[in-house]
């Protein structure tokens, strides 16, 4: 007998490991290859199906021991794979120059596939060995995974990610301890269990910390800073928003001031560097209530709006180390609402380094809010003269397109509309970004502003916009109202004095837009004119980067990839072409291709062994099983991923919204799957027909046109109907419901989310066990095969869902998922 708790523990460990790997990789490296490695390694799930198909019968005889061995191997390999990976000289940045790196990549795939393979083999074995309780096993699998998601989040609040790795390993060891402490009858030998568990905990605690000590890539900002003499780490904090490292530099100051004018001669005051995950520098600037040392800030591009407004009331969305609060204080803003997502960063500025930072958040008029920008704005009733979105990511991160796979809701058309709603008449929205050549971010922002203004019925958006650039940053101004002659004169004066260029301003000539920081083409001016005129569509089509505005349904602001430019950029990759390519999308496609080939191999290989088994008459055809499990594997993750996005926007704070939503999905799906056997039994009883066939009478329009349909699998039909109904409700009602409820406090919002997710997820838990029970009855040898197919499909669908969302949007992904569920239902009629 195998305790289901052990299944849950392995499942929790596997999911936690998957999420943790993402965290660990983002600290030691910073590349999309991490995504690729994890996705491919997850095919260990698919491989377990093939493995069980071949060895299943032998392993079933010693199920307890086999399970325990798998769980122990899982535990050991989680720590070992990471320890070995850290010692491989893999350098993602050098991949285009060094084909050898691809070999390391291959090693990494294999390395991380081991833990996933072991975990999946354990769970698959539990499904294969006990066909009579497939529903319940799957329930423990899903509920375990949900606990893994939430448990890891809680663990990461207190533990460093490399220490959390031990906790993941512990899950595996405990599962093994439980598995070997159970008698055939199912009775747990308690003493033995406690003994083994103690040994497991001791083993994890005894693992040398040096094995998994985090070894940052030497190319990260923090690594390079630490080489400078006189640099000291003052604080290191683990947390959900990343690993924060505060660094002081006694001999060579940071002097961090992006967008600083070339005509400025002042040196910034002392600064402390704050690195997130070893990169993304933000600084805490020394402040002693005197404003004179801050005068250099007035020479940065971000100071522009303060030259158009008299003592403005300001909202700063994303204050980081607080530089923009100081800028507002310098300009004597009477009210400053500062919003920052990361509570730890706020604590560093306002508590731990309060003396150094000069308590900027306690200055008169300043209020600090720990919140996500969009939900803060949506929940606020205040109006401001200036809303600022400062530059927070590091240049290297932005330049390498590190965020191109992540959603960003602060730069969408809907976001801009909200910002405009919170501006007083004559107020400004100011957004600063790094300058890229050819321009990408700044053009997309410009296009977004144009669309948002048009949606508000403004006929000539160009009169509301100004784009100014320094040698390495751009600032876009959107005015709530047309820019006056005086405004234009002030912008010109500001730019002229600081040697900034007017990328776009109504009334400015082409030549005037290219004076101080000369570009070989009139990129900004010409693009702005095209975006404001009737050629906008052609411009979006012909521009070699995708700079069309993003929406909440397709919020990939940092993805500029277009297939059109790929051949040219690849051909000139050694001439700077590689630096212009948005690797995120390209890597995603490469991942999908590799994963598809591997999945196909994993799905087809077991057939070589299973080929000899002759099916009984009327048994399920293999193609039906394959199609069904592929369809529901894809559909489950499509729905899950598309829904997570909507809820993240609603809940704010992605770092806890994602685990909460993911946990809710898996948990309720788990409840659903455990209900599968009862549902089948009840429906069959209701119909008075022997399983698996049943008759359902469907009556439409007051019985006038009734018809009878023969449904061979009523439980499945019910599940799919439930899924479609709940998902359609989400599609139709959720957006307006969210808009209405977004000002609610977080706890209530979570409660609302749970209520909305529960029915959808519950029904989504049913199709897998319902069908697997049928497979177990009709062709038991194919159970592991089905398990493997489902595993492969889940991996592929997670990749494909993002690709589809990038080009079609989340609603489309959800609709495709519903189509797949219908296909599944039709396949297993």
């Amino acid at each position: 007998m195998l305790p289901l708790l052990a299944v849950a523990l392995v499942s929790a460990g596997a999911l936690a490991f998957e999420v943790l790997l993402t965290r660990l990789f983002s600290i030691i490296q910073w590349h999309h290859f991490a995504y690729m490695i994890i996705s491919i390694a997850l095919l260990g799930y698919g491989a377990s199906g093939a493995f069980l198909a071949v060895t299943g019968n032998r392993l079933r005889r010693h199920v307890g021991a086999a399970f325990a061995a798998g769980a122990i191997l899982f535990a050991v390999s989680t720590v070992a794979s990471f320890a070995v990976a850290e010692r491989l000289p893999f350098n993602a940045l050098a991949v285009i120059w060094e084909p050898r790196q691809l070999l390391y990549l291959l090693v990494l795939y294999l390395l991380f596939a081991v833990p996933f393979f072991c975990a999946a083999t354990c769970i698959g074995l539990a499904l294969v060995a006990f066909p009579e309780r497939i529903g319940r096993t799957y329930r423990y699998d899903l509920v375990g995974a949900s606990m893994g998601a939430i448990g890891l989040m809680l663990t990461l609040i207190v533990l460093f990610p490399n220490v959390a790795l031990k906790v993941v390993a512990l899950c595996g060891f405990l599962a093994a301890a439980l598995a070997i402490s159970v008698r055939e009858t199912g009775v747990v030998r308690k003493r033995r269990a406690v003994g083994y568990a103690t040994a497991a905990i001791a083993a994890c605690a005894a693992l040398p910390q040096s094995w998994t000590a985090l070894q940052l890539s030497e190319y990260k900002g923090l690594s390079q800073t630490l080489l400078v003499p006189g640099v000291k780490v003052l604080a290191e904090e683990a947390g959900l928003y990343g690993l924060l490292t505060v660094v002081s530099s006694s001999t060579i100051p940071f002097r961090y001031a992006p967008g600083l004018s070339l005509s400025n001669s002042m040196e910034p005051p002392a600064q402390l560097g704050v690195f997130t995950d070893g990169d993304g520098l933000t600084v805490i600037t020394a402040f002693d209530s005197r404003l004179e040392p801050l005068a250099y800030l007035d020479h940065t591009l971000a100071a522009l709006p303060y030259h158009l407004l008299e003592k403005p009331e300001v909202l700063i969305l994303g204050v980081g180390g607080g530089a923009d609060v100081l800028l507002a204080l310098l300009h004597r803003a009477p009210r400053i609402d500062a919003v920052e997502l990361n509570p730890q960063l706020v604590r560093l500025v306002s508590k731990r380094f309060a003396e150094f930072a000069g308590r900027p958040y306690e200055q008169p008029g300043v209020r600090i809010h720990v919140a996500e920008a969009r939900s803060f704005v949506a929940g606020s009733r205040d109006r401001y003269d200036l809303i600022q979105l400062p530059l927070l990511d590091s240049f290297a991160t932005a330049a390498a397109g590190m965020h191109s796979l992540s959603e960003s809701y602060i730069y969408t058309i809907e976001a801009f509309e909200q910002y405009l709603d919170h501006l007083r008449p004559g107020g400004y929205l100011a957004i600063t970004r790094w300058l890229k050549l050819p321009p990408r971010d700044s053009l997309r922002l410009f296009a977004t502003a144009v669309s948002a203004l048009e949606r508000r019925g403004i006929g000539d958006p160009g009169r509301h916009l100004a784009l100014v650039r320094s040698w390495n940053t751009t600032t876009l101004l959107v005015k709530n109202g047309p820019l006056t002659g005086e405004d234009a004169a002030a912008i010109r004066r500001f730019a002229e004095e600081r040697a900034f260029d007017l990328g776009f301003l109504r009334g400015v000539s082409r030549e005037e837009a290219n004076r101080f920081n000369v570009l070989d083409q009139y990129y900004f001016f010409d693009s702005a004119i095209a975006l404001l005129g009737p050629q906008r569509k052609e411009f979006f089509r012909d521009y070699k980067f995708d700079v069309a505005p993003t929406t909440d349904d397709r919020p990939y602001f940092f993805d500029f990839f277009k297939w059109q430019a790929l051949p040219e950029l690849l051909e000139r990759r050694t001439l700077g072409g590689a630096a212009l390519l948005d690797w995120g999308y390209a890597v995603l496609v490469a991942t999908l291709v590799q994963a598809s080939v591997l999945a196909l191999v994993l799905i087809l290989t077991p057939l070589l062994w299973l080929g000899r088994q002759r099916p009984q008459a009327a048994a399920l055809a293999r193609w039906r099983i394959a199609l069904y499990f592929i369809a529901i594997g894809f559909a489950f993750l499509f729905v899950e991923i598309a829904s997570i996005q909507r809820f993240v926007l609603f809940l704010g704070h992605p770092v806890y919204a994602i685990p909460v939503v993911l946990c809710a999905f898996l948990f309720f799906a788990g409840l659903g799957s455990g209900f599968a056997p009862r549902l089948t039994a009840r429906l069959d009883a209701l119909q008075g027909l022997p399983a698996p066939g049943a008759l359902i009478r469907l009556t439409g329009g007051e019985g006038r046109c009734g018809w009878v349909v023969r449904v061979r699998h009523p439980a499945l039909a019910l599940a799919v109907t439930g899924i479609v109904a709940a998902a359609v409700l989400h599609l139709v009602a959720a957006p307006s419901l969210f808009r209405w409820l977004i000002p609610l406090p977080d706890t209530l919002k979570i409660a609302v989310s749970l209520v909305l997710i529960a029915p959808l997820a519950f029904f989504m838990g049913l199709p897998f066990p319902l069908a697997l029970v049928r497979v177990a009855a009709a062709r038991p040898g194919l159970v592991p095969w089905a398990w493997g197919i489902n595993g492969c499909a889940s991996v592929l669908s997670a990749i494909l869902a993002i690709l589809l969302a990038m080009s079609l949007g989340f609603s489309a992904v959800l609709l495709i998922a519903l189509g797949l569920y219908l296909v599944a239902a039709a396949t297993l009629r």
Partner: protein, 275 residues
Amino acid sequence: MAQQDKITTIDLIRAILARNRAALAFGISLAAVVLGTSLVLLVSARLPVTAVQTELAAERAQMVTTMEAHAKQASTTLGRNYIAPEVLKAVSAVPRHEFVSDRLRGDAYADRPLPIGYGQTISQPFIVALMTDLVRVRPDDAVLEVGTGSGYQAAVLAHLARRVYTIEIVPGLADSAATRLQRLGYSNVVARTGDGYYGWEEAAPFDSIIVTAAASQIPPPLIRQLKPEGRMVIPVGAPFAVQYLVLVERDPDNGQVTTRQLLPVRFVPLASGGQ
């Protein structure tokens, strides 16, 4: 030749081991390794023209050919479709393989950046040539380099300028680069360890400045230390991926500082080619 020697040694060891005479094999292999190492040392200590040097010269010539091909595509950046012949001559004269670790020597002349430790790289040869070309060094010039790295860029400049001043912030890199430059006989390069922000006041003003270390701002002292008609160049981008070059110039008449942002390659973002 060194490469061939090693292969022979290994073959020898294999042949002997096959006869199960482990002790003898060990002795002979030890002797062979000692012999091989001393040979390598002798070769690197510049014996009269050897096959190795001929081979390296061929690789360097190939590197220059690649640069010339690249230059044809970089006409917007260079203002012409070739790199100045004196720059190419300087690049051909510098033994790039001396500036990388032994492990990477085989790739020294390849068309790519190479890691040099400390999270730094030696730039792709073409980028070095491009930056050198952009600052237009004349024989009588004093040039400042901020970010010595391996010292390769300084060595190239040393062939063109009267004097090269180079500053490196990371002591480990600064020391090895200084030793290397001295060993290779670059007597007109002066190196020091420290903060590049303030430039090199005693030797200022400079005809050209090359900043190879990434910076969020262009240090005002460096602009001040640039002669009125001087030129400064800064690469911008992530490690292993230069995105664009910033050329800083001063107007000799009014002192106004302007920059030019230059892509290493001609790339027109509009498919239709025009606006």
